[in-house]
Amino acid sequence: MDEASVTLKQQNEQLQREIESLRLRLQEAQNANLAKESFLSNMSHDIRTPMNAIVGMTALAKKHIDEKSRVSDALDKIEIASSHLLSLINDVLDMSRINSGRMTVVEELFSLGDLLHETLTIVRPQAEQRQHSFHFDAENIFAESLYGDALRLRQIYVNIINNAVKYTPERGEITLSVREEEADGRCVLVFLCRDNGIGMSEDFLQRIFDPFERVSSSTLSGVEGTGLGMSIVKKLIDAMAGTIAIESAPGRGTTVTIRIPLRYESVHLNTAPLESRRLLIIEADEALQTLYRRFLDEAGLSYTIVSSSSAAVSAITEADFRGEGYSCAILGRDVGRSNSIFELASYLHKAKSELTLVLVSDLDWGEIEYRANRSGISAFIPIPFFRKSLINGLAHALESSDTGTVSSAVPDLTGKRILLAEDNDINREIACEILSATKVSVDCAANGQEAVDLFLGSAVGTYDLILMDIQMPVMDGYAAVARIRGEAREDAQTIPIFAMTANAFAEDIARARAGGMNGHIAKPIDINLLMQTLRQAL
């Protein structure tokens, strides 16, 4: 009886366990189903919202198809909605990859300066739009070359900063700081983002990493986002063996601290090209001046710092007079006047031929590169900069100027061939002398007809560029270009042709362009303008 009773009891307990297990599995299945329903519900809402804009605006554009600008306005809105939709899809895909274990973090060498510059470039426009003041500090940066997944790190930082920007009422304050700590032979990169925004409740903080969780607020409207960002951030940080800590309270702002351990490479400073060179730094921002002094003094380099454009022009003129010219002018973030960086660069480029111009800026290089190059700027160092990025960046700029491998005062055009049409002997001689510095081969023609004959008599691809005087005997420049462009040979349409003329009428310049010339160089020839043209064309 006792034995049977024990067995029965055991069986009963076994059954109870199985019932409990089944109940738990049912609960899990129900939870999973609920999560799926919730996910679908959230997704359908989040997808429908931008889709409404896309469908509605498309219909509106079709209705006003004759009014191009109204159509263009609709397309702008469709573009915004599409981009939001795309980011939602990307987030969902990221989540899916992470959940299925298909996402891996890579370990590649990257520059901390570049990573931070790119991050700041992405987030700054939105912060400026909301008129936030934006502070960035870096301290104890001993490792600039790190091993890690720069793309995913940028994704994490951008996500965190974007939340600060979005959840802080206009004209708020956002402070970012980066520091490095050494632990077990690794560099722990500590990123901190502090805002004085609306903050979060304790309850919300518990759920912040759950998908589709967003802060609801009566003070902020129109906050957009997929609600997946923080989940992704958390999973990425986990994958990098890092940690994230969030301190927040309603109405008292939020501070996010992220710590990621990374391998690093020791800094090698390339000071050789900078030795015995004089550098001029134009920077009005005192904090940046301090950084320059620290890094350049540590490297034992010779430099002068001025805080305005006019002080720079004076310093360069004075140094030239004494025959102690500067090799390089560093155009800083704040040169004392807004919008004058490019004007200053143009002025220096035109007036002082030997100077290598380097722009140190927090602007997006991709957006300003064309204008910067046209102004004579030949290198770019992104802000924030650290010891290595500054010293090596400057060394690279000067080295390149010396060897002519990148845009600088005199480009290296070895292997290139130019056809120069100029009737005046002295002008021809001067042009050849200027061009000889570039190591380019030059064939000369004394009039348009000779130029045409030389071009047509050469094999296709012989010449890389033509410099064409306009007023010449026998055949003028316009006629010569018309003949060349009218030929059927392959390079007749593509070879860059520049007018060299003192004809300053806007109509003449327009005529030169309409006649098939690519640009115009004013006479008497300005060395720097000629070099700049060659650099851009070849």
């Binding site: 003129t317 004058s340 004007e343 007023q471 003192a502 009428f505 003449d508 310049i509 008497p524």
Partner: protein, 607 residues
């Protein structure tokens, strides 16, 4: 000077004389009109001749500057100097082109003394060129001023080597460049600091003894004058006690020689009075009464610097005080005086003979167009600017009147076909459809035509455009007339509704080209009217094509440059015939309006 240079100079002067509608006398309207048409043809011929002279002689000379003889270079310098003698700006563009070329040449030759001189010359050219953009706050002006400041800064930087240079003339250019940094800086504090430094330098025996032949006392007096023009800084604050004292002292220095004379130069008297007000030594009432006395004492037909200062600038400053002190706006006596002062100002400007059209005169015009304070009780901005347009830019007036007539014709045709076409414009939408609305649309359209090139009045480009083709840089400056016109029109009640037509008429319909890029068609409620102005302006200015060909060209550019909603109406035969008829009149009705002003039958123009 070489003969082509003399010829060009003579042509420029002839064009100036021929373009003065009021300088041509005739016994009756018919013969006056004939003379005007003849002048128009002569101007066109002289213009072509000028372009040929520049293309055939000047440009080749600059082309071959490296091989030019010293005599040729001297001739170029003399030519440049004659085109811009600091009081009469005949052709600042050529002046600048020559000196910019010489600067490049001397930089290439590493001729330091000549570089210093050319830096000064180029700086002056840039300064005078930037004056035509006065009152237009834009990137182009900022860039021009910046380059100007850098040029003078580079020239002034040689001060450090003053004793090492051997040429006294070159030393003079260094001092002058240094002093002139102040005139191109928009930062008052910086201007004061520079002038203060220059005051110290020009009084320093170290420098004086190293260049004894330089006119140091003249430098000193001019620098005090420059410093006194910075007195606005007194009401803004932020200066150190020393800088403040320097401004006060300079006001006193320029005031003293004038205060004891019977006919003081008001230009140097006023800074002292203004300084006294800014420092609280005298109250507003005293300042206003001093101003009133100076304005009333000046004969209206005094066109020298002092006369223009009293008759034009002081009324404008009086208006500023009324604008900045709302309590004055409720006091009838001040408004009445302002009205009297403004009327006298207009009398001076409208009666000024063409030979007194100096650079200073045009600066005053610019000041009036930019700063006129429109308030109940004074003439409207619309009225005074129409008068200025008639007197100073007659050809612009004729062309704009023709544009107005074309606008009236086209807008009426559009209205009759689609009465709701212009209903995005609030004040037109509120008028019930019918004859009254048709008239409202036509009247508004006509005024948009008249005011679309308004920005050109103060830019003083008309004479330059009559003289020759524009250079590339000038063309970019010319394009700013859209922004300038918009800003001035938009700031006044009587003209605000024409502002968008001025801004947007050169911008392409699809936004892909034209200027200014700032004009966003979709955000303007006046866009349909501005679209029409763009079409009419194109047809109106298309001298090389017949009206029908111009219309065909417009239609060929529909959807891109021109609105298809407007071009849809242009195939109407009656409308085309109307457009041709307007051109067939050879502007006779508008010349008649000018003639009425000349003979006094239009009292508004000659009071």
């Amino acid at each position: 000077m070489l003969s082509y240079q003399q010829q060009y100079l003579e042509n420029v002067r002839k064009i100036a004389a021929l373009s003065d509608f009021y300088g041509i006398s005739a016994p009756d309207y018919e013969s006056w009109y004939e003379k005007q048409l003849l002048s128009r043809r002569q101007i066109a011929t002289l213009r072509e001749e000028n372009i040929a002279l520049l293309s055939g002689y000047l440009f080749p000379a600059l082309d071959e500057l490296h091989t030019a003889s010293e005599a040729d270079i001297n001739a170029l310098e003399e030519f440049a100097g004659a085109l811009m003698d600091w009081s009469t700006n005949l052709d600042c563009g050529i002046y600048l082109l020559i000196h910019d070329s010489l600067l490049s040449l001397y930089r290439f030759r590493r001729d330091r003394n000549r570089v210093i001189k050319e830096l000064y010359m180029v700086g002056m050219g840039l300064y005078y060129q930037s004056r035509s953009l006065q009152g237009i706050e834009c990137e182009a002006l900022t860039a021009l001023r910046f380059r100007n400041e850098m040029v003078f800064t580079e020239g002034g930087s040689y001060l450090k080597f003053f004793s090492e240079l051997d040429d006294e003339e070159t030393k003079g250019y260094i001092i002058r460049s240094l002093a002139n940094i102040a005139i191109c800086s928009s930062d008052l504090g910086r201007r004061v600091a520079i002038s203060k430094r220059v005051l110290q330098i020009v009084q320093d025996d170290y420098y004086r003894s190293r260049a004894p032949s330089l006119p140091w006392d003249t430098f000193l007096q001019r620098t005090h004058m420059q410093m006194s023009s910075n007195r606005a800084v007194l009401s803004k604050g932020g200066l150190s006690a020393e800088e403040l004292a320097a401004v006060l002292e300079s006001c006193e220095v320029v005031f003293k020689p004038e205060s004891g004379t019977e006919t003081p130069n008001v230009r140097w008297l006023w800074p002292y009075y203004e300084m006294e007000y800014s420092c609280g030594f005298v109250d507003l009432a005293t300042t206003l009464s001093r101003m009133e006395r100076l304005i009333e004492d000046a004969p209206y037909d005094s066109y020298d610097v002092s006369g223009l200062y009293a008759n034009v600038q002081l009324p404008i400053y009086y208006g500023r005080l009324v604008r900045d002190n709302p309590s004055l706006q409720t006091k009838h006596e001040h408004i009445r005086f302002l009205d009297r002062a403004y009327r006298k100002m207009m009398r001076t400007l409208l009666s000024c003979p063409a030979e007194s059209f100096t650079d200073f005169f045009f600066y005053n015009i610019c000041l009036v167009v930019t700063d006129y304070f429109e308030i109940d009780g004074v003439e409207s901005y619309r009225d005074i600017t129409t008068k200025l347009m008639k007197r100073l830019t007659g050809h612009l007036y004729i062309r704009s009147r023709r544009a107005g007539e074309l606008m009236r014709l086209c807008s009426t045709a559009i209205y009759r076909s689609d009465p709701a076409f212009f209903d995005d414009i609030g004040f037109l939408r509120s008028v019930p459809n019918g004859a009254e609305k048709e008239k409202a649309v036509a009247d508004y359209a006509e005024q948009c035509g008249l005011y679309h090139d308004f920005g050109l009045i103060k830019m003083n480009f008309e004479r330059l455009c009559q003289t020759r083709d524009l250079f590339e840089g000038e063309q970019r400056m010319y394009e700013l007339h859209t922004i300038s016109g918009h800003d001035d029109l938009a700031a006044r009640r009587s003209t605000a509704i024409f502002a968008d037509a001025a801004l947007g008429h050169h911008r392409w319909y699809d936004g892909s080209d034209g200027y200014p890029a700032d004009y966003v068609r979709n955000s303007s409620p006046y866009r349909q009217m501005t679209d029409l102005v763009a079409v009419v302006a194109f047809i109106n200015d298309c001298d090389a094509l017949s009206p029908r060909e111009a219309v065909a060209s417009v239609i060929a550019q529909e959807h891109s440059r021109f609105s298809p909603l407007i071009t849809a109406f242009l195939s109407d035969e009656a409308l085309l015939a109307g457009i041709e008829e307007i051109f067939r009149q050879h502007d006779e009705p508008y010349y008649r309006e000018l003639y009425c002003g000349l003979t006094g039958s239009d009292s508004e123009t000659t009071n």
